[in-house]
Symmetry: C2
DNA sequence: CACGAAATGAGGTACGCACCTCAAAATTGC
DNA sequence: GCAATTTTGAGGTGCGTACCTCATTTCGTG
């Protein structure tokens, strides 16, 4: 049987009230007594029963998840996952609220963030580009005691409590090796697309990609990054133009979103399945494109893991508890058609485990 | 505020005792009343407060994890992970016991399993090859009400409650695409090694691998599987002999363990880094070999996830609760040097994120 | 309608902890 | 050594649920 507060009281030779005072850092206990209690705790190996504690407190953790209102399928999926996780989290006394902010308006974001403490939020998870206004807002939140965790894209200069997401540079490197090896080391050219070339995650991915290409695959020429500004139209235009003029392009690395526009452009040019296409994030669309052979590989982070990890980390930070680093490591997943996890609407050939369409 | 049992009683117009009888499926309630209570539950959206329930039950779940006593690093890692998870699990009232059995003695395994219920175990997770004796033992356990989950390697003919692990055929397919693409589609030969060619997981991996190679990479010749019987000496002998006589071998797919012997043999022949080597499971050794460029890719399943998932599933099965399928899906991870998650004893070059050794 | 059986109600205790009050004891300052 | 102050003890209540007992009501049946 695990020791309880009563055992500690007995062991330390004090009353239950004193143990309680020490455990919950209430005032009015001599240093000497505090030590005696802590010694007893150490001796017995006592661990507070968190569920009982929370039950007694009848406490609910009000957490805010703040995402941009991009139409990107990845962000949508993430939002859905959080919503779902929020329902399940009710069991753990977590009350999740999802907030979206206009992706191009850092001031609106900051204003929204600063309202959170007044609304009783105890912690914030935030996916947003780092701007000066944001830095100030995060600092303000933290000084009010709210833990802030960065989501997907890190905010290294804000003293956020934690970052939950993949190492984007390593992700770029991974895309690099795959591209290089899939192209047999060259020769050929590779196109790189990014929604915004200024965003921190794009920069890091590009950096990792270039690193590997330069070092390990000198026979492959990586063309200048093309910016799509998150617009499908721009993307199609840019890609079509580029491919028409560069017959040696054998691979495309899409660092941001806009996969729909990309596959569509490729289809129109009759290039579907003829190029090595690597992109990020597993969404309904990239799933389909993978299965159809239009996309070769997807570098992904698991939204379910992201969401669950976020809740665990926020909770731990609020309670000031240590966390299991291993569990909170978000892996850089490589998804090919062959290891695509079964999805919700999956009609695969039960014999081969693959769709009818030939590779 | 979430509704409680008292709210249900009021809403359904019955007493608390009756609600309790319905909730815990105790006898002595008319169908009609049961329906009334369930309707009230549905109307209020009541969800049982699990932590309070477990507190009241003051129940500890005694779970058994049964692993072979192989010296394989993967099994060792798995055992360590379970041991570690067991400590953490104390918080969730789970009392974990690790059992090992002589891997070549199915009868000893069966005997061990049959002892578990008497020792108060409430659930069993089992990693073992399927044999007739085992089938009987599993059936016996289940008829006594103990949920049994298969670990890593499925036991499809035993009516186990759940399988926790990757789809080995899909894993084999994944190895196949990687091999095929990394070899540029051929020409060349590929060597396949397996510890035991009769084990179900080996058969499935091989099947998946062949499927992809035959269909997508006809230019690559897959040689007959070599059996190593889990012995490092046999492996070295077989590999050395084979490589000496087959100069066209450009890739090796190691389906089982024995990576130490393999990399050693390659080193001795001066072939380190010159072949495409794909193997399974991330262990201290495969990590090192990946970093050193001796192994090209590792197909892995995350032991931490495996362990946590096992505990969650067992608990859910014991309590007869539904599970979050998405969370329990064990992914087929592809690990390259570039996306190798940071390990415990990692001394990487902080600039490149890679070790000093050139590729 | 009466009888036994089945269904239900009322109420209590416990789980491990948080949080509160009030009195008693120990310590401090003077 | 006394009063003022700080520290400690004893005890209670509640969180939401499980599980138990014993009375009371309702039901089906002859």
């Amino acid at each position: 049987m695990r020791p309880t507060v009563n055992d500690i009281a007995r062991e330390a030779g004090v009353s239950l009230a004193t143990v309680d005072r020490v455990l919950n850092a209430r005032p009015g206990v001599r240093e000497k007594t505090i030590k005696a209690v802590n010694d007893a705790i150490a001796r017995l190996g006592y661990v507070r029963d968190l569920s009982a504690a929370n039950l007694a407190r009848s406490r609910t953790y009000r957490m805010a998840v703040v995402l941009p209102d991009t139409e990107s399928q990845f962000v949508q999926t993430l939002a859905d996952t959080f919503r779902e996780a929020g329902h399940l989290a009710a069991t753990t006394r977590i009350d999740l609220t999802l907030h979206r902010f206009p992706s191009e308006d850092p001031h609106a974001l900051a204003a929204m963030l600063l309202e959170l403490p007044a609304r009783g939020h105890a912690g914030v998870a935030l996916m947003a580009p780092e701007t000066p206004v944001l830095r100030d807002a995060v600092r303000a939140l933290r000084s009010r005691g709210l833990p802030v965790v960065a989501l997907v894209s890190d905010l290294p200069n804000t003293a956020r409590d934690h970052f939950i997401g993949t190492d984007n540079r390593a992700a770029g490197r991974t895309a690099g090796v795959l591209m290089g090896r899939f192209l047999g080391g060259g020769p050929g050219q590779v196109l790189v697309l990014g929604s915004s070339l200024l965003a921190r995650d794009m920069i890091e991915r590009r950096r990792g990609f270039d690193e590997v290409m330069l070092r390990d695959f000198p026979g492959i020429e990586v063309l200048q990054s093309l910016e799509t500004h998150g617009s499908g139209r721009t993307l199609r235009q840019v890609v079509t133009e580029m491919l028409a003029n560069a017959p040696d392009v054998r691979g495309i690395y899409a660092m941001g979103d806009g996969h729909r526009a990309l596959t569509q452009a490729l289809q129109e040019m009759g290039l579907s399945g003829k190029l090595t296409v690597i992109c990020h994030e597993l969404t309904p669309h990239t799933r389909k494109a993978l299965l159809a052979g239009e996309i070769t590989a997807v570098i992904a982070q698991n939204p379910g893991h992201l969401a669950r990890s976020t809740l665990r980390v926020l909770r731990a930070k609020v309670d000031n508890l240590p966390l299991d680093e291993g569990q909170e490591q978000i892996r850089i997943e490589i998804v090919l058609r062959e290891n695509l996890p079964p999805g919700p609407d999956d009609s695969r050939d039960s014999a081969t485990g693959l769709p009818a369409a030939a590779p």
